[in-house]
């Protein structure tokens, strides 16, 4: 026998199911009025410093179908690479957004400011990125990924450097389609499968 560790095990995840919107974004789900407004409507307030951008995309299942029922959360630093609880962080950036695939087209849109590069624990800079968490019916544990940007220098990013199969790096990089506009598609399974993170 040995001493007993006092540590606990994380509660098991379960799928958010088809009605995750009822709990997380009820007004979007057709239940207005329970709360004054849905949580996470925007990661920025007026006056946020930095370039305002929109990122649009779709999330495809393993058959290539653009899912209509996925919900996303994003978390990001401000224009200077500081997270909201850090010294000097932009008070107009709360960093958090909830958004969902459109029920007819499957397309999602995130409007935010482009984050700055973030310093890692070892002092190495992480290229500008937005963390994304995806839940939906059929996803048994939420999927983490990151959005990087085509027009930033991603060459020294420590996370991207860890991706052995170099073509897969592209799955984490939003393509610039116009000034301030990016496209980021997510593929859950199969050809072009997005890199998901255990982080």
């Amino acid at each position: 026998m040995v001493q007993k560790l006092g540590t606990l095990t994380e509660t098991a995840s379960q799928t958010g199911g088809p009605y995750v919107h009822i709990g997380c974004i009820p007004t979007f789900a057709g239940l207005p009025g329970v709360y004054p407004e849905d949580l996470g409507l925007s990661p920025i307030a007026d006056g946020a410093k930095g370039e305002v951008i929109t990122i649009t995309g779709s999330i495809y299942d393993g058959t290539g179908w653009a899912m209509r029922d996925a919900m996303f959360e994003s978390w990001q630093a401000d224009g200077a690479g500081r997270y909201p609880d850090q010294l000097g962080a932009d008070p107009a950036v709360n960093g958090f957004c909830r958004f969902a695939a459109d029920k007819d087209s499957g397309e999602f849109t995130l409007r935010t400011i482009k984050p700055g590069a973030v310093k890692g624990h070892d002092g190495r800079m992480m290229a500008p990125h937005i963390s994304v968490w995806i839940v939906a019916r059929g996803i048994n544990i939420g999927l983490h990924t990151r959005i990087y940007f085509e027009d930033e220098d991603n060459s020294a990013d420590p996370l991207l450097a860890r991706i052995e199969q170099r073509p897969r790096v592209e799955t984490l990089i939003a393509k610039r389609i116009a000034a301030g506009q990016y496209r980021f598609d997510i593929r859950l399974q199969g050809p072009g499968e997005t890199v998901f993170l255990d982080i």
Partner: protein, 242 residues
């Protein structure tokens, strides 16, 4: 409740399998390729915080929050309560807990839910609260009904409440479901069965908690939630290998 340090890596074997033939939708919605495993960074160790100003007086009362207190929802009155702690058994205070559920007949208030159990005009089906300084939370609601769903020929979801918890860092984000002690449908549910570790599945089943129930008013069920913890060490701030 130190909020520094790397997140303890997730034990994926303690979570549901992403791909489970008995849960058909998971077959096309699970990655084929391995996840990229990395140590957490500030991007995962920080996370959104929500203040008490967010929470309205009826937000954690699903019996009254849809009608704004005008008329109670139909169903068996229950209190769902518990604590949010981390893997180091430390309470997670002031964190947002959100719930959603079907009504007493097993119907969600959602355009996509076409089950013919009736809607309750006084039940919306969502609630939220912040844990207190000890990580404690509670909801007053009605016991959700079981409901059929299209999967195998005759699948029914056990009574359940969906629960979403933030913790203090984006890497702790968790959505799960709480089941109710004694429900024979749990053992027949392919979604519950995506959790292969028996002990972990048991932890999703809330026991009847008579001591926390109120005579002539409601029964109570206890549901404690464990979020990822952080590694606690003084050796952390040294260059690797030193």
């Amino acid at each position: 409740m130190t909020d520094t340090g790397r997140l303890i890596p997730r034990r994926r074997d303690m979570h549901p399998v992403p791909y489970d033939p008995e849960y058909k939708t998971s077959l096309t919605r699970s990655p084929n390729l391995p996840l990229l495993s990395l140590e957490s960074t500030p991007s995962e160790e920080t996370g959104p915080r929500f203040g008490h100003g967010l929470i309205g007086a009826l937000d954690n009362n699903l019996i009254l929050n849809f009608s704004k207190g005008a008329a109670p929802a139909i169903g068996e009155r229950i209190r769902l309560h518990g604590r949010v702690v981390d893997e180091n058994a430390r309470p997670v205070p002031h964190t947002l807990v959100e719930v959603w559920q079907a009504n007493a007949g097993g119907r969600y208030r959602h355009v996509k839910d076409t089950y013919f159990a009736p809607l309750d005009p006084n039940f919306g089906g969502c609630g939220r609260t912040l844990t207190d300084e000890n990580g404690y939370y509670e909801f007053l609601t009605i016991r959700p009904g079981a409901y059929p769903w299209p999967n195998r020929g005759n699948d029914w979801r056990p009574m359940h409440i969906h629960v979403s918890v933030f913790g203090h860092s984006f890497g702790q984000r968790l959505i799960t479901q709480t089941y109710f002690e004694g429900d024979p449908l749990i053992a027949r549910c392919p979604i519950a069965a995506t959790v292969k570790d028996r002990g972990q599945l048991d932890q999703l089943v809330a026991p009847l908690d008579m001591a926390a129930s109120r005579p002539m008013d409601y029964l109570a069920y206890r549901f404690d939630i464990v979020l990822r913890g952080r590694r606690q060490t003084m050796f952390e701030n040294k260059p690797e290998g030193m």
